[in-house]
Assembly symmetry: C2
Homo-oligomer: 263 residues x 2
């Protein structure tokens, strides 16, 4: 028999990259799948491609270092407009037309995610925030009234400064902050079916990874590059009490496919 502590509701946090919410066909598919998902849910989105396009139209150059956007004052205006405004509100309006009560949030709203400006090391990323804390209690309060948070990759420092923040990190930290209130599933959606054993073979999805598998796969060189921080993130979330992490793609959300990562 399950005890009282285990009787928590489920929540699913889905992180989708910018490309998915920026293209109509994939956005429509995502909204359909996300709306159909049972239980409480949170959507975390990116928007980098649109930010780059809007910046270009405004004559602002996009600088990336190791896949991360350098965010000077002009670029901060652009990402605040694009992530917090254009992408977020369009997703919110569309989700509401699917019958959900979606609420667009940045970390600044109700102090949901507090961060600090990344210290300048070898690289000055500018107005980029590293997350200090996520207010899981207020998110749980909203969700218990059937509100669906839709989170843009922006946070604030508590002193009035908006900061650009990685969406994967926001998803992971939000998942951890919801552990006291829910049984948490974290889903990272990207363009591949899951974690691939052979990056060139779309059908080589690794169905299940445990911490010991992961160490072995890394030492064998089966998992490389951009997938390593995603998986490191996933295992950190599991250690913090998140029940499971799934790496999959839009079109297969909630279909028991992709890579399942469990402790």
């Amino acid at each position: 028999m399950r005890n009282f502590v285990e009787m928590k509701e489920n929540v699913t946090i889905i992180k989708v990259g910018g490309k998915i919410v920026e293209e109509e066909a994939s956005l429509d598919l995502l909204l359909k799948e996300f709306s159909a998902l049972p239980g409480r849910k949170v959507l975390v989105h990116g928007g980098g491609r649109t930010a780059t396009a809007v910046a270009a139209k405004m004559g602002i150059e996009t600088k990336m270092v190791e896949g991360r956007r350098v965010t000077d004052a002009d670029m901060l205006h652009v990402v605040t407009m694009v992530y917090g405004g254009l992408v977020n509100k369009n997703v919110v309006a569309k989700l509401n037309s699917c019958g959900l009560k979606a609420l667009g949030l940045t970390g600044a709203d109700m102090d949901v995610i507090r961060s600090h400006k990344r210290p300048v090391g070898n690289i000055d990323y500018g107005f980029v925030g590293d997350v200090d804390c996520v207010n899981g209690e207020i998110l749980a309060w909203l969700m218990n009234r059937d509100i669906v948070p839709v989170m843009a990759p922006l946070t604030h420092d508590g002193s009035g400064q908006i900061l650009n923040t990685n969406a994967d990190t926001i998803a992971g930290e939000t998942a951890k902050a919801l552990v006291p209130y829910f049984d948490v599933t974290l889903i990272f959606c990207f363009e591949k079916k899951g974690v691939l054993k052979d990056p060139d073979d779309d059908n080589s999805v690794i169905e299940h990874i445990t911490p010991s598998d992961y160490d072995r796969l890394k030492s064998e060189g089966s998992i490389q590059g951009g997938m390593i921080p995603k998986l490191d993130n996933s295992f950190t979330a599991l250690q913090a009490g998140v029940k499971r992490v799934i790496i999959t793609r839009v079109g297969e959300i909630g279909k028991n496919s992709g890579t399942l990562i469990e402790g």
Copy 2:
């Protein structure tokens, strides 16, 4: 002795034009005054000047007809970015640094304000929404947890379409929708001290206007132009149960100055 029905909490809805939130000095003054205001509160902001500036940088021409923005698809993107993102999130982050729990909202968020696209008459205003209904209940629920709604002048049609909507209208309709829950004061802030008897004399503020005063002032020609829709709006709000409307400027909010409009 006051009866039970009258024992409602006070709420103040403050509408500020774009100019106030777009200039640092006036924004700081507004935030200070707004934070100090006792009781529940809502801020409704504009952002037209920034929208025009961002549009120009993106090579998008701003077209105004009778003081209202014509909102084609490109301009809708701009206002969604600027009102919902840039202006709204900066105000939210700054209010939170003043110790408030500010939450940025468009009408699309949680279906707070539903509107319909204005029918094409002599002029096609494009993606402009006329308000159908404001969900006062959800706003009251938020405010009863000390959350301060910060509303951008955007609504949605319930079918996924964002619509550009006049901020004065949003303030007036929100005030009316809160009547069942609060004793409502609506404050319109603009650049003048109040309604002026002589538009060229800043010290000719009319301190108090009742409906019968208004009819007389209009017939005498003392009140003209852009002030007429503002006052019409105010009297409509009073008829719907709003307790008082104040027309004033930043720097004098909550100071018992400006023009008081009562039923």
